[in-house]
């Protein structure tokens, strides 16, 4: 028994000095909840705050100082380089599209990009520059890039006071809060990534707003349904919505807050809390409104603004459905005209953009591999415009009785190849290159009608309404008698087929590449088109547009699986096993290389190991009936430090489940949490006791004894050592983070702590 106790003591504290803080007599009952916790000899007055006004002033001064340093660290030479850096290619471009109002597609929600666009708008920038390549000059193109960068840099700097205040509100001493803020200020990754035109700065800012608001909200829990309680809860809800509106990663923040809320609700449900079921349900509904309903409204609102700004056709059109594209000004879909029986149309394959084509040449009777063909007329895919691409649409009756009627979905049609006067036909003969697929050929009108049944195709519209329309309708042509779909694939036919693409009948009729569209009707000139289509931009309900875009965002995000030379796997992030080259300049040998603060990050990961070890040891010892931690210390350890740790877990672990290409900067949100944990763990080891109570007292709260943390000299000493190490490491790597000066080859070699860090100009 003693062994267990001692083991836990040593594991939990790592220090003799805190022994006296902890109960030495094993308690047989677990610690009780603080709302019903009373201490007999407590003073009878309700404490407003445990901190003296002098302490509050000190805290404010520290906060102001740290903020100033943070701003300096982010804004230092923000004008360098005056070139497009890394993903500014994307996000700068998107801001330009907003300013032009042209529709684009991106996997991230719109908020941060709209903020950048708004910044550009206030700076008088008109969106003329498209940020096409890394290294394009800003000054040559009159782009107010400093202003654009100032927004993320400012929000990146503002993350620092938020971290400080969050730690402070969670009840940590000034030293601990300063430590956390200091580590956030001087992390190279946070600096590099937040002073460029990128989204992560906004993401981390709103994420910290959410955490801060939630901590404030939790502290008002003794006065439920008060104005303050409502305000902070709604602030939390709005903040998580803003975070998610920047990047879907915000959902991890939602999960972090969500877990805390569910835990809180579970405690409220406990019968010992003496809430009636009605009161509990009120708590539940309030949270549902503030943390579910309001965030959804906010999230949708930004999409509403997104659609309201992007009214013109643009580079994102092709990602969307026909119905969606018709809502955009200047979109070609609006030019589509209805196809009528008797029209001569071209039929183009959607995936490979070749026309359905035929000509006066036949399939060779015998292929190279010895198989035999029908020797019928070739039907191929041809990528150029040509009279041989024209097909006349007939109905399935022998006489073309429906001339002038519009072609509808599920109509059975026949297609006449105009130039050779023969019917399109599919039959059970193996295609030239794929034995599994049917050969497509034609059948001359001169012959008798005995093969009529092989020439009928059902037209199945997959999008674009229920009538066939040029440009707008995607359709399949399903052969009636043998159930194959007309299909083509990029395989070229041999010389006898003039290197054109093979067309065959695909037995897999559900395949998405079976889609074709008609892009032209012969002889319908522009005036006719104008008459037929009024060119009205159509309306579509917001919610349909939103659902479509959201679906596309998710599927495209999952589809970003192409490998990238600087991608990394999540397991590498906390150890900083890999960096990203953002920008290089050959003449000056300058470069920006995204890398965290190596020493800082390695200390942070060690502190995460400490928290896991301590909570594990605590869990085991409690299972054996020992309570090695002082009740208040333990509570602070789980409720504050543990909460930040959960934040780290939720912003990190889910990446392991993602199939898409991942990058080091995806670790940024988790990194901020890991620094907060680092500071808290430092406090846990070196600072004795905790400040408390820190939550607002409620009407029913019994007076509690004030207790104060004792910050010994060793805590200051170790804190300063940590900060010096961190700052030194930051300054050492600063040239690579800012890209303002170029270390020589030896200097780069010295900085190459790990062999995988592939700096440029290192040779």
């Amino acid at each position: 028994m003693e062994v267990w106790h001692l083991l836990n003591e040593s594991l939990a504290t790592g220090s003799e000095s805190t022994l006296r803080q902890r109960s030495t007599v094993p308690k047989l009952t677990p610690p009780r909840d603080d709302s019903i916790n009373t201490t007999e000899d407590a003073p009878k007055k309700v404490i407003k705050s445990v901190f003296t006004s002098a302490e509050k002033t000190n805290s404010l001064i520290t906060l102001a100082g740290l903020t100033a340093v943070a701003i300096f660290a982010r804004f230092y030479k923000i004008y360098e380089p005056d070139e497009v850096v890394f993903d500014e290619v994307h996000f700068g471009k998107f801001a330009s599209y907003y300013l032009r109002g042209s529709y684009f597609f991106d996997v991230h929600p719109p908020l941060a990009k709209m903020m950048l666009a708004a910044m550009g708008y206030f700076l008088g920038y008109d969106g003329h520059f498209l940020f096409d390549n890394i290294g394009d000059k800003y000054n040559d193109n009159n782009v107010p890039y400093i202003g654009l960068r100032a927004l993320p840099a400012f929000l990146g700097a503002m993350t620092v006071p938020l971290v400080y205040m969050t730690m402070r509100e969670a009840g940590f001493p000034i030293l601990t809060c300063t430590l956390a803020a200091f580590f956030v200020i001087f992390d190279n990754m946070l600096v590099t990534q937040t002073r460029l035109i990128l989204l992560d700065s906004m993401l981390v800012f709103f994420m910290m707003c959410s955490i801060y608001s939630y901590v404030r909200f939790y502290k008002t829990r003794n006065n439920p349904f008060s104005l303050k309680w409502w305000s902070w809860m709604i602030a939390t809800g709005v903040s998580i919505a803003m975070t998610t509106s920047v990047k879907m990663v915000g959902l991890f923040t939602v999960a972090t807050i969500g877990v805390a809320v569910i835990w809180d609700l579970w405690e409220l449900l406990d019968i010992r809390r003496r809430l009636t079921m009605q009161q509990f349900m009120n708590h539940f509904y309030a949270r549902a409104i503030a943390l579910i309903l309001i965030p959804i409204v906010v999230y949708l609102f930004w999409f509403y603004v997104h659609f309201a700004i992007l009214t013109n056709s643009g580079p994102g059109d092709d990602f969307m459905s026909t119905e969606f594209q018709e809502t955009l000004k200047g979109n070609t879909m609006a030019d589509g005209i209805y196809v009528k029986y008797g029209d001569n149309i071209t039929i183009r394959h959607k995936d490979t953009s070749v026309y359905l084509h035929s000509h006066y040449h036949n399939y060779p009777l015998r292929y190279d591999d010895g198989r035999i063909s029908s020797a019928g007329q070739q039907v191929t895919g041809y990528s150029h415009e040509d009279p041989n691409n024209l097909w006349q649409v007939y109905s399935d009756s022998l006489e073309n009785t429906k001339v002038g009627k519009q072609v509808k979905d599920k109509d059975v049609i026949r297609l006449l190849h105009v130039a050779t006067s023969s019917w399109l036909l599919a039959h059970d003969v193996a295609s030239p290159t794929m034995t599994t697929n049917e050969e497509i050929t034609t059948y001359s009108t001169d012959e008798d009608g005995s093969r009529f049944n092989e020439t009928t195709f059902q037209i199945i519209l997959e999008s674009g309404g229920d009538k066939l329309r040029t440009m707008a309708s995607n359709f399949k042509l399903l052969h009636q008698s043998t159930k194959v779909a007309i299909w083509t694939h990029p395989q070229k036919l041999p010389d006898w087929g003039f290197d054109q693409q093979e067309v065959n009948g695909n037995k897999n009729i559900v395949q998405k590449s079976n889609l074709w569209l008609s892009d032209n009707i012969e002889g319908k000139n522009a005036s006719e088109i104008d008459q037929e289509s009024s060119k009205v931009v159509k309306k579509r309900s917001f919610i349909l547009k939103f659902l479509e875009l959201q679906g596309k965002m998710i599927s495209h995000n999952a589809g970003l699986t192409d490998s990238h030379p600087y991608q990394s796997s999540p397991i590498e992030w906390p150890f900083l096993a890999k960096g990203i080259s953002f920008w290089t300049e050959n003449d000056t040998r300058k470069q920006i290389y995204l890398l965290g603060n190596p020493l800082g990050m390695w200390i942070a990961i060690a502190s995460l190991a400490v928290i896991m070890g301590v909570s594990g040891a605590d869990l085991l010892s409690r299972r054996r009936g020992f309570y090695p931690l002082n009740q208040d210390v333990q509570k602070r350890f789980y409720y504050a430090t543990g909460f930040f740790f959960i934040g780290w877990v939720f912003h990190y672990i889910p990446f392991f489940l993602m199939g898409r290409a991942l990058f080091l900067h995806h670790y940024m949100p988790a990194l901020v949490f890991s620094y907060m944990v680092l500071a808290a763990v430092h406090g846990f080891i070196f600072i004795e006791g905790v400040d408390g109570p820190i939550s607002d007292p409620g009407p029913e709260t019994r007076p509690r004894q004030v207790q104060r943390a004792v910050v010994p000299v060793i805590a200051y000493a170790t804190g300063i050592i940590l900060m010096v190490i961190h700052l030194g490491s930051f300054l050492f790597f600063a040239p690579l983070s800012y890209g303002t000066s170029a270390p020589d080859v030896a200097g780069l070699a010295r900085r190459k702590f790990l062999p995988q860090w592939d700096f440029h100009f290192a040779k």
Partner: protein, 785 residues
């Protein structure tokens, strides 16, 4: 025998519900009843009622436990006066499973030769079985045990291994009926196992029978059991593991007893068996693992347990649940290697040394010393490494030059000629051949296309951080990028390490002279354009110890060199074991869906729980006997529904308990949680991994998970009909409806399992319950939800 008065079915909800207090009471009682050690678990929730009753008889000192003992046990009636009925009542624990097993045998064995052609994956597994009979080395992604059993069944049937098992081919007279019956036997024993497992989970007798009937009358289990496949063995082994686990759990009150040891060891052996059939068995192993962790955690909290005893618990589990299964797994591979002594189609997956040890392999007769002008094949030494390969197809991106890959199939495209680089004076054929040495510069010419192995500063197609390797130029172009340096790494035989390159035994690196990078194949598969072969790159990281950058000469032809001396090589079992396992893993990972192709047989995990898909197991012509892999819809839907119902019920109870409402007695609650954890956990562990893993998935991957949901189905019904306030009339009606629904649905889908004869379109239209099933042909093309 006990009488009804000392059984109270349910504990009236009292004030002493706190677990600690229950403990306290128990401990008190234990103190007074001298012969029991401390019991950390409280009353045993999983022990079937009849066993507990026996215990109860033996020790009447436990009378105090009666009021919470028999949570779920149905009220037992007095024995009838009629002697036949009494005989049944006294022996029902034997009669019922016997009857179920007999029906199970009948359903599984009847008309088993109705299709005389090779159906579906019989083409694979029948063939693998043949290899064991012939002793030819083959390669497959699954561990060997199941296929060895197929081979055994063939041997027992007198089959000589000569049939090719081509898909759809008509069986010659090879006793395939017996082989199918052998397989079906495993499918059949799932039924009694389901019965006994339900009993161990503490279900009522009716519920146990219902669980067994769900398994018995599931068309999918039936269909898949009746062919020469691994699934019936896998399923039976999974059921057996789960049975052992529940049985072992019920021995937890008497640790280290003979029964306790027996069932712990049985669980371990069963884990070994199931993992040796398919790796899917690791999922049920995970269930055992989680259960073990929970048990050890419970025991850890038992303050009165001596530490030595606690350590004994750990050691016992480590021995029986880790060492024992691992031994079984390794033994299956040892047997595999022992049987397959001849060279066969799977050689190329293994190391060159292993291949050289197979009968019929002529590597050892190859010339020993490799010289300029030699024709060779070059093998990657990484686990699962292939042969350096090239073919006329070109890279679609990058340089657009000829592809160079690593490939496991042996063909002439693996042949390379070791040539002098152009700038050297000495011609290749002059005088006696010059033996290659450490540090020599060579050019590797591809025999078939005459291209040279080439690398350049162009990103590799997949691993874009490394350089591409291609086939480029020919003898007339003199390109410095074709030059490679031989770096000898090691000598694996008794030869001295003298810097000379020997075939088979010497391992070496190939370093690009200009770029300084190493020729590497890291088991990364190329997309379809590269035929899913392994990407070859030139690795700039200079990882000189990576086995993926180290090669050896496998086959070697050189007329000017003397032939080798023969038997010099021995490969080590552990090396071969790991090699084969890594190769299996690599091939398994390569089974990823091809986005360009929509496979009609493959299905998505989201389609399984509600049986949105079926699977055609053979051609659908009118004159074939057609089998459609489709579950019993009522059983599948019921199973899935019960997961939801169970989750909601558990949520309801937990929330109510937080408000101190006691809806069920502590005894019942323990049982509800314990059985729920095992069944829901088992389902999740067998289902969720398929949603995460990237490989192609098929309907039959759901079958192990289904077993857990079927048991849960019965458990949930049992839980609700055995409530206070549910009259026995209602109970009987519910059970009757459930039995009838499952039985009639089974009969309705009879033909789907036993073979559809004639035109499916004409006879099976009424069975097409869901749009995406393709039992009949003219389903609407647009409705594939």
């Amino acid at each position: 025998m006990y009488t009804s008065e000392n059984i109270k079915r349910r504990n009236p909800v009292g004030s002493s519900t706190n677990r600690d207090q229950v403990h306290q009471q128990q401990d008190d009682h234990h103190n007074s009843s001298q012969n029991r050690s401390s019991d950390p678990y409280g009353p045993n929730p999983l022990k079937p009622a009849f066993q507990q009753q026996q215990q109860h008889q033996q020790a009447s000192a436990y009378a105090h436990r009666d009021h919470y003992q028999f949570g779920y046990a149905p009220p037992r009636k007095e024995y009838s006066a009629n002697k036949y009925i009494r005989f049944y009542q006294q022996n029902d624990y034997i009669l019922i499973p016997t009857l179920l097993t007999l029906v199970s045998f009948w359903t599984r064995f009847r008309d088993i030769k109705s299709s005389d052609i090779v159906v579906w994956d019989e083409a694979h597994f029948g063939k693998f079985g043949s290899y064991y009979i012939k002793g030819d080395f083959y390669f497959d992604v699954h561990p060997p045990l199941g296929k060895m059993l197929v081979g055994l069944s063939g041997a027992l049937a007198g089959y000589d291994g000569s049939f090719g098992f081509d898909s759809g081919a008509k069986y010659p007279d090879i006793g395939y009926g017996f082989m199918r019956i052998f397989n079906a036997f495993f499918g059949a024993i799932m039924v009694p196992l389901a019965y006994w497992t339900s009993q161990e989970l503490g279900m009522s007798q009716t519920a146990c029978v219902f669980a067994a009937v769900l398994v018995l009358f599931d068309n999918a289990y039936l269909t898949i059991s009746r062919f020469i496949l691994l699934d019936s063995m896998l399923l039976a082994a999974t059921c057996f593991v789960f049975f052992c686990l529940t049985r072992f759990r019920n021995e937890r009150h008497d640790p280290f007893s003979l029964d306790w040891w027996l069932w712990l060891a049985m669980t371990g052996v069963a884990i070994g068996l199931v993992s040796s059939i398919k790796w899917v068995g690791l999922f049920v192993t995970a269930l055992v693992g989680l259960n073990t962790i929970e048990e050890l955690w419970d025991l850890f909290g038992d303050l009165s347990l001596p530490k030595t005893t606690y350590i004994k618990h750990w050691v016992a589990r480590a021995a029986c649940l880790i060492a024992l299964p691992f031994s079984v797994y390794v033994a299956s591979f040892a047997l595999h290697f022992a049987i397959l002594r001849n060279s066969g189609p799977g050689d190329a997956q293994m190391s060159s040394l292993f291949q050289a040890s197979l009968n019929g392999n002529d590597f050892r007769n190859n010339p020993l010393y490799v010289a300029y002008g030699s024709k060779v094949t070059i093998k990657n030494t990484g686990y699962g490494g292939g042969l350096l390969h090239s073919h006329v197809q070109t890279y679609p991106e990058g340089s657009g030059q000829q592809q160079v890959t690593c490939y496991h199939h042996k063909d002439n495209n693996n042949n390379w000629i070791l040539k002098n680089i152009k700038s050297e004076e000495v011609p290749e054929d002059a005088g006696s051949p010059r033996i290659l040495r450490d540090g020599n510069l060579i050019r590797l010419g591809h025999e078939q296309t005459n291209r040279s192995l080439h690398s350049h500063r162009i990103k590799a197609p997949i691993t874009s951080a490394q350089w591409e390797v291609s086939g480029y130029g020919d003898d007339s172009t003199n390109d410095a990028n074709d030059e490679w340096i031989i770096e000898i790494v090691d000598e694996n035989s008794h030869h001295p390490k003298d810097g000379q390159l020997r075939s088979l035994s010497t391992t070496f690196r190939l370093r690009h002279r200009v770029l300084g990078c190493l020729l590497t194949a890291e088991n990364v598969n190329l997309p379809q354009w590269g035929f899913r072969q392994i990407e070859v790159t030139c690795d700039t990281r200079n990882r000189t110890n990576s086995p993926h950058s180290i090669w050896n000469i496998e086959q070697h032809w050189n007329d000017k060199m003397p032939a080798g001396e023969g038997n010099l090589y021995k490969s080590k079992f552990w090396k071969d074991f790991w090699h084969l396992n890594v190769a299996m893993m690599t091939s398994n990972n390569a089974l990823i869906p091809d986005p360009d192709k929509e496979d009609v047989l493959a299905s998505n995990p989201s389609q399984w729980p509600l049986l949105a898909v079926g699977l055609r197991m053979c051609g659908w012509g009118d004159d074939t006997v057609k089998f459609y892999l489709l579950g019993n819809p009522i059983a599948w839907w019921g199973g899935t529904l019960s997961l939801g119902v169970f989750a909601l019920t558990a949520f309801y109870y937990i929330v109510r308990r937080q408000r101190k409402f006691q809806d069920v007695s502590p005894m019942e609650w323990e049982q509800f949680l314990a059985a729920g954890k095992l069944l829901v956990g088992g389902w999740f562990l067998h289902y969720i991994p398929f949603c995460i893993m990237g490989r192609v998935t098929y309907l039959h991957h759901y079958f192990p998970a289904l077993y857990f949901s079927l048991l849960l189905f019965s458990f949930v019904i049992d839980h609700f009909v055995n409530r206070p306030g549910v009259s026995s009339k209602v109970r009987n009606v519910v059970w009757a409806v459930a039995f009838a629904a499952v039985t009639f649905t089974f009969l309705f889908f009879w033909d789907v399992s036993y073979g559809i004869r004639g035109s499916a379109n004409e006879t099976m239209r009424s069975r097409q319950w869901r749009a995406a099933w393709n039992i009949i042909d003219d389903h609407k093309p647009n409705t594939f939800i």
